[in-house]
Symmetry: C2
């Protein structure tokens, strides 16, 4: 079974576009969780146990693990291992380097962590992406437009009448098919999602920035128009409560977002 | 003492612009080195011992460590710890994310690894760089122009008559002064180095791609015109020999490059 099939299966089985971002932060752990690496792993496991029938994917942003050094890296590895086999995984590493360096990053994400997909920063061009594409059954999400204010510094600079981020799409479209390359589309800009969706109707979008980052989910769903998408929420789900019942509270929040993304009442 | 002063001191003490990139690769270890993480660390230590009076800096590209998982991450940490206090260190992590994620990456590079400097991918704009700048005595190298073929995919796209990589400079110049932000300038393009040097005569350049990547060192030195620069060589120095005398061979290669970069005969 291909990773795309796996993603479609779990999306359909759980009726969910929701991806939960497991952005660990020792300062935000519930009171009942130990403030050490064992505690961080226990926390992730509890969130996964409570939400695995509500999501299509889990996303691990490497930064939050790396900040805790070797201990954090270990939690990252064990979190990947704990996620049930049928749920899609995203190594949100935003790696971007060239040649044999990029190959080493691909080895880390796809062999060591065995992620189904990875986020990549496209700035150095095709050479960055090529070693990842050499794994023939993995999905790559190219960082295209981010949800932060300073995304205008470069991503929206105009080249021949089109913003740079659209050139990322124009150029990368020819690198591989829709089952191999998707796009990270920051969620603050519904009108941009609409226009990008028009450009690449069948590409997978990874849409972060919903929830704690505040994007208006309804507008985004509408703009996406039913195209293949994974919508990520991190802190708003995982830190739903700091009480003993934190996992249950996360589950409730996950159900809330699932409904919202499915446009249910 | 500031990190810039440290960098200038070691550059002057060792009369060297040479940075050695410790790009570990288990398949290229000398025969006498064990093919495990202990061996990789022994190798790095031997190279450092043999070259520490010849270099101004050591650069660790995180990819080569991450490919070996937790074991590799440990070698990375121990390599940072082993480098003598007076030698400048570069966390070549090319991280680039936003907001609290970028903050976590900065914590990893500057607190956990205690690097003097870091490489950053500027694509998401100022928000990526800001958390790194909050450490007031560290140097940031922005990925500007890379030495690979597909650097033309985006970095050389023309905006209002200037390539994108120059806009990275135009925009970032105002973020902080020359002691805080430097630039990664891929070494294959001497004419580009000349033109960038003209634009920012006093900024630090990290120039990779010399040596195994094949750039013409003499042209580059000339183009740089004596501006503040660190010139990196990785494989051509560290894999100078696979014999028992590998460290000595690396030292000889390092001396060769030091001379070349100093324009000595």
């Amino acid at each position: 079974m291909t990773v795309i099939k796996k993603l479609e299966n779990i999306r359909d089985k759980n009726s969910s576009l929701l991806c939960i971002g497991l952005d660990i932060n020792i300062d935000r752990m519930p009171d009942c969780i130990k403030k050490d690496s064992g505690g961080l792993l226990d926390f992730n496991k509890a969130i996964i146990d409570a939400t695995k029938d509500i999501v299509c994917a889990y996303k691990m942003n490497f930064a939050f693990y790396e900040q805790y050094g070797i201990e954090g890296f270990k939690v990252l590895k064990e979190t990947f291992e704990y996620i049930p086999e049928n749920i899609f995984t995203i190594a949100d590493a935003k790696r971007g380097d060239i040649g044999h360096t990029s190959k080493a990053y691909a080895k880390s994400c796809f062999e060591y962590f065995n992620a189904d997909s990875v986020t990549i920063n496209p700035y150095p061009g095709y050479d960055t992406v090529k070693p990842f594409l050499e794994y023939d059954d993995k999905l790559i999400f190219l960082l295209t437009i981010t949800s932060n204010k300073s995304s205008s510094d470069f991503q929206r600079l105009s080249l021949q009448g089109e913003p740079l981020y659209k050139h990322v799409i124009f150029v990368s479209k020819d690198w591989a098919n829709n089952n191999r390359i998707g796009y990270v589309i920051g969620a603050h800009h519904a009108e941009e999602i609409l226009s990008i969706r028009h450009l690449i109707p069948e590409s997978w979008f990874l849409i972060p920035g919903v929830g704690a980052q505040g994007a208006n989910a309804k507008k985004i769903i509408l703009a996406n128009g039913g195209g293949p998408a994974i919508i990520n929420v991190s802190r708003d789900v995982i830190y739903a409560s700091s009480d003993k019942n934190f996992a249950e509270a996360s589950r409730d929040k996950a159900i809330f977002y699932r409904k919202l993304f499915n446009n249910e009442k």
